[in-house]
Amino acid sequence: MTTNDLLTVIVTIVLGPLVGGFLFGVDRRLTARLQGRYGPPLAQPFYDFLKLWSKSRIVVNQSQMMYVYGYLAFTITALCLMALRQDLLIIIFVLAFGGISLIMGAFSVKSPYSNFGAQREILQMVAYEPILMLAAVAIYLKTGSFMVSDIFSKLQQPLLFSLPLIFVALLIILTIKMRKSPFDISASTHAHQEIVRGIYTEYSGPYLALIELTHWYELLLVLGIIGLFWATSIWAAAAIALAAFLLEIVVDNIEARMTWSWMIKFVWSTGITLSVVNIAVLYLLR
């Protein structure tokens, strides 16, 4: 690890939440406007975070909080790996570790709603993991490597041109990861749901604050993956990620929440088909 790498890691850890939190603020405000409301201030996520952080700690049992640390730590790790331009598959695996840690946390309390949330989160994971990995495979087919660094160094043309279908599939994944309708299945950000807050039900106060924080990092990471599709310059990448982000917010507001069975069917049929077709075309044209 060089000093440069270390610097990247530190910058990612420090700046990540600022950018992520701001994006969440934009999300809240824009959503409100799309609904004809005035909406909260842009800094609302930071207020929420601080408030949650300052609340008294209540728990259900004594091991519950450990998993939140895991969720946070591994999500940050995944984001850092991304910033260090490491192996895409490893990034996906590490991100999954974060997610599984949260699931274990939800399971670790005997609570019906958190149990539902955890089960559904597993299903969500099952839905999106393959697509993420297929995207990695498709990128491999273009760059000959799984390294993010090679996307930046080896390509003349944005990935979007050769992987348009994969990109669409990733947009579906982005909806799941951002917990937006129609896929806010295991827990939605603020909307009401049959499973209450699902996987977050039993976390409160500072632990919930950490979960919010993790979301900020996580959002950046998935947007980062989206950004890879126009990685000719960092600004182009940011622009396409932002566009995708805004698109998700609009989609969230024009769809009802679907059920997990529909989600799996849809993501697997549509998402995997899109990916497979794209990969097949690439493979045959190679």
Binding site: Q35, P112, S181, A191, H192, E194, N253, E255, W262
Partner: protein, 359 residues
């Protein structure tokens, strides 16, 4: 080893606006058993109705529920009027119709919003409630308050609607109708909405009869029955047909309510059109003696009041059977076999109101 899950759904639950518990037994997320536990809203209104003076009861019954408040008062007043043989001025009758129908519109719009919230369509919820506020404004303007409008009294009504306000009602309704078109369009066309409602919570016609369903729940199963056809208040003078859908599922019930909004708008227009001038109320003297069963159509269906007076200022018995009381039983047949995600949709599809039910 059991692979079942047994959980309480309610009384406090974000998708349930009211406290009711469903004890759900699930396999994976498929419901195999559902039993409702009541009593979280029970106050004891029927007994209080025997303690209060019969005239005070108007204020009590309109607070049985804040969503269908006016029609409760209407039913009670008409019942007492029938026992006492009071003839109500005809302007009062028309005003009663107007407020009833405005109440129905606000109740149905409210419900559409809640349904949207139940399947996570937040913006549709916001949109519906945004336009519902127009109706609320009209109510506040004409009655002085928004939800418990408290304008019905024994012998007539307590407030008048000026010509100016009548025309404002018309223009507001026109605007609301335009927005309703948009909302109805989304409900009719949107894939996700249809997917979440069609085939969810089936209640075939025979079942609807056997379980005693009423109101839109019953009309969504293809039974054309609407208490307004009996012609209480001024309904006898107005033209309308019960709204019927034959889908027998949550979607059909949603469509019934959407179409009833249009119907109500139309009824208000007709009533304003034909409204005679005249007194608002007649003075009522004496105490009721005798019994009556009176029925009116609430937004949720048939409301039954059984009133028995004994010649004193206190009633002998006041019994209220609200539409949800009848519809609640259908949950027992609609829930099993569906999934957890459908629970809010199915529960809402009967438009439950437990403060009415438990009184």
């Amino acid at each position: 080893m059991s692979r079942q899950t047994v959980v309480p759904f309610g009384p406090q639950h974000p998708v349930l606006p009211e406290p009711i518990q469903l004890k759900l037994t699930l396999e994976d997320e498929r419901i195999v058993g559902a039993l409702p536990a009541f009593g979280y809203c029970h106050r004891g209104v029927e007994k209080a109705g025997e303690i209060n003076e019969y005239a005070q009861n108007v204020f009590l019954v309109e607070r049985i529920c804040g969503i269908c408040s006016f029609i409760h008062a209407l039913c009670y007043c008409q019942g007492i009027e029938q026992i006492m043989g009071v003839e109500v001025p005809s302007r009062a009758k028309y005003l009663r119709v107007i407020w009833s129908e405005l109440h129905r519109i606000h109740s149905h719009l409210l419900w559409i919003g809640l349904l949207a919230d139940a399947f996570g369509f937040e913006s549709l919820f916001m949109q519906t409630w945004r336009y519902r506020e127009k109706v609320m404004d009209v109510l506040e303007k004409t009655c002085g308050s928004r939800v418990i409008i408290s304008t019905c009294t024994i012998g007539g009504v307590r407030r008048d609607i000026s010509e100016e306000n009548l025309s404002e009602i018309l223009s507001t309704l026109k605007e609301v109708q335009g927005h309703l078109d948009q909302i109805a369009h989304v409900i009719e066309k949107d894939y996700t909405v249809r997917k979440r409602c069609i085939g969810v919570g089936m209640l075939p016609r025979e079942q609807a009869l056997a379980f005693g369903a009423v109101g839109p729940t019953m009309r969504g199963s293809g039974i054309a029955q609407d208490l307004r056809m009996t012609g209480y208040a001024a309904y006898g003078d107005l033209n309308f047909e019960p709204v019927v859908e034959t889908g027998c599922d949550s979607y059909a019930r949603a469509l019934v309510r959407v179409r009833e909004c249009y119907q109500s708008i139309d009824l208000v227009r007709q009533a304003i059109d034909r409204m005679p001038a005249g007194d608002l109320a007649v003075k009522v003297r004496g105490n009721p003696n005798g019994e009556v069963v009176f029925r009116v159509e609430q937004p949720r269906g048939e409301l039954i009041y059984y009133i028995k007076g004994n010649g004193t200022k206190n009633l002998e018995r006041l019994r209220v059977r609200t539409p949800t009381y009848a519809n609640a039983a259908t949950l027992l047949t609609m829930l099993p076999g569906m999934t957890l995600a459908d629970v809010p949709v199915i529960a809402l599809s009967i438009d439950p109101c437990f403060s009415c039910t438990e009184r």
